[in-house]
């Protein structure tokens, strides 16, 4: 029985058939005794599992869980969710007295520390606001005065090292408003004979602050909602070790990836090309695919004159390709260490198609969509008799699957490629090549050295 029909049966056992599948399933049961037998057995297994006695948890499991939670973690609360005021439990008067005395004892050092802090704060306040405060002001002014005089003396000392002609000496720009003290110092230091400059005390009014856009940020209206953001989807090429193809998830991802574009190039990296070619042919044979190998390519591969070969297949569906790689993975796992490395699948680009065209000698038409089957766009309702015939033909056609064909040619070096017209195997492949099926995916599988 085919995998599809078995899957239909197991879905029925799961109780998750759609309406269409239910129809197919009923017809299958009516027409096939084998299907009925398999369904009965699987359903019985499912019922046995369902009817297994319910295991009773240990009586203290709840306590153990709660005790562990209490021991390991605090209550997961938000900061303000806990009540601030909590009611005290009722206690006896004796207990309350003990509690009070112990609390008062604990408060003694705190009270002493608070007193000291208060005294220090008070005395500091008195010092800086009383006579001490005045002294501080004077000290500050005298210090400022001495600083300016020192700087003036310093400048006069440096002046004697300057050239005699001071007229051309660059002068630092001076501010318009000069403080009284600074002017006096400048007058003394330069020892000018001209009359001292008249000191003009000017008061410059600072510019008013710029008006805020929202003077009251608390009462301002909320900002308008941000419009919907564009979602950017980044597509990452499929890249997995071949060894992962024994996992269903990898095969599922592979099938999903292959369903996204009309044609794919799949690079398979290997450590030993001649063995890889043999193993790929074995795996393909198990998958009912006959890989015709160009004789010249085979010869060059055996002499290690080729760094990569290409296998062109256009008769397999994505799921069949996933199965093929799973079988290749199984083939690879037979000998340690494995020779295959990673599988890298990318959509075919124009250059790939050009290269393939030069290898095959004909346009493979990778980007051409196969013609839709007649009536596929506007399906008409079918009669139950037709459904019967389809189901019968599906059931009768099991095991009569036609062999698919593929061709293996040299990929690199490009100078070593076989001339298409001189390859007998290629001609045979092209003769067998019929119309591509709607669900088939053309792929070029490039088996290459890891460093090629």
């Amino acid at each position: 029985m085919s995998d599809n029909l078995l899957a239909l049966i197991t879905t029925a056992v799961d109780g998750e058939l759609s309406a269409v599948d239910r129809l197919r399933f009923d017809h299958l049961l009516d027409s096939s005794a084998e299907a009925r037998s398999i369904y009965d057995k699987l359903k019985a297994d499912s019922d046995r599992l369902r009817n297994l006695p319910h295991a009773v948890p240990p009586r203290n499991l709840h306590q153990r869980v709660m005790a562990q939670i209490a021991a390991v973690t605090p209550i997961p609360v938000t900061p303000f969710s806990r009540p601030i005021i909590q009611s005290l439990p009722v206690e006896t008067s004796e207990r309350v007295n003990d509690l009070k005395s112990s609390r008062s004892k604990r408060l003694v050092p705190i009270a002493i520390a608070a007193s000291l802090l208060f005294a220090i704060t008070g005395s500091s306040f008195w010092f800086f606001n009383g006579s001490g405060g005045k002294a501080g002001t004077v000290a500050h002014n005298s210090k400022r005065q001495s600083h300016t005089s020192q700087s003036g003396a310093g400048e006069s000392e440096w002046a004697k090292w300057l050239p005699a002609d001071n007229s051309s000496r660059p002068v630092a720009p001076t501010p318009n408003a000069i403080s009284r003290a600074d002017t006096r110092n400048d007058t003394n230091n330069t020892q000018s004979s001209v009359t001292p400059p008249v000191v003009v005390e000017t008061i410059t009014v600072a510019p008013s602050p710029r008006p805020a856009r929202n003077p009251n940020i608390y009462a301002a209206e909320p900002r308008p909602d941000i419009g919907p953001l564009d979602l950017v989807r980044i597509r990452v090429p499929f890249l997995k070790p071949l060894a992962d193809f024994d996992h269903e998830e990898t095969r599922q991802q592979f099938v999903e990836e292959l369903g996204r574009d009309p044609a794919f190039r799949i690079d398979v990296f290997t450590r030993h090309l001649p063995k890889s070619v043999d193993w790929f042919r074995n795996a393909a044979k198990v998958s009912n695919v006959n890989v015709a190998v160009d004789a010249a390519t085979l010869d060059r591969v055996s002499k290690s004159q080729v760094s990569a070969v290409v296998v062109y297949i256009e008769a397999m569906t994505p799921s069949e390709l996933a199965d093929l790689f799973a079988k290749l993975c199984a083939e690879d796992a037979k000998i340690t260490p494995r020779i295959f490395d990673t599988v890298h699948a990318t959509p075919v680009v124009e250059d790939d198609q050009k290269a393939l065209r030069s290898i095959l000698g004909v346009d493979p038409g990778l980007f051409k969509r196969p013609a839709q089957e007649k009536g596929a766009e506007n399906p008409k309702p079918i009669s139950s008799g037709t459904v019967d015939q389809i189901v019968k033909s599906l059931s009768a056609g099991q095991g009569k699957e036609t062999e698919k064909s593929a061709i293996l040619m040299t990929w690199t070096p490009s100078m070593g490629r076989t001339i298409p017209s001189s390859s007998v195997e290629l001609k045979q492949f092209l003769l067998k090549r019929g119309e591509r099926k709607a669900n088939a995916l053309p792929v070029m599988i490039v088996i290459r050295h890891g460093n090629g």
């Binding site: 297994d45 499912s46 006695p53 948890p57 939670i69 973690t73 209550i75 997961p76 806990r82």
Partner: protein, 186 residues
């Protein structure tokens, strides 16, 4: 998610640990029943349940509430079961020669009472043994589907894989279980 669960979770996040205790009471039996079919050992199953509830409690604030609570809890429990299996696998050689080897466990549950194995029917034993020989991936989908009656969508959410994978996993698991039972004469 049911309103009761929602209320209990809110209360728990509000600081009431007893509310989480109510959730434990509500789901512990169901979770334990699934866990024991996964690990086939009462002690381990209890540990799995305990770890699952503890982890759920610690990360309860991350639970968004857009799925069923038990779905979320199952996901944690199944991860805990996988972790436990890994730990056990690493320590199995030490346990085999340890001083406690051969001593009866002190678990008070009915499952491990003296003679409990005899009370288990031959059919159940055969079925459980076949289940134990399945891969963990196949066993967990069968437990969820057949023992717990969870739908494809929920299984996919619990295990974090696409529905198509669940369907094909169940398909293979059923066929593998059938083959094992036939080989054992079931």
């Amino acid at each position: 998610m049911s309103d009761d669960d929602r209320q209990l979770i809110a209360s728990c996040l509000g600081g009431q640990r007893e509310a989480f205790g109510e959730l434990v009471s509500r789901y512990q039996a169901r979770l334990y029943n699934a866990a024991i079919r996964l690990v086939d050992n009462p002690d381990d199953a209890a540990d799995v349940v305990q770890d699952a509830f503890l982890n759920a409690y610690q990360s309860l604030h991350t639970f968004k509430g857009d799925a069923e609570f038990f779905t979320w809890l199952y996901r944690i429990a199944f991860n805990a079961a996988i972790s436990l299996k890994r730990k056990k696998r690493a320590a199995v050689s030490l346990d085999a020669v340890g001083p406690d080897a051969g001593i009866d466990p002190d678990d008070p549950s009915e499952y491990v009472k003296p003679g409990a194995a005899l009370e288990r029917t031959e059919e159940e034993t055969q079925l459980q043994e076949a289940m134990n020989r399945l891969s963990h991936e196949h066993r967990e989908v069968l437990v969820l589907k057949d023992i717990d009656g969870v739908k494809y969508e929920d299984i996919a959410e619990i295990l974090g894989v696409p529905i198509g994978t669940i369907r094909s996993r169940l398909h293979r698991a059923r066929l593998e279980l059938r083959e094992l039972l036939e080989n054992e004469g079931g």
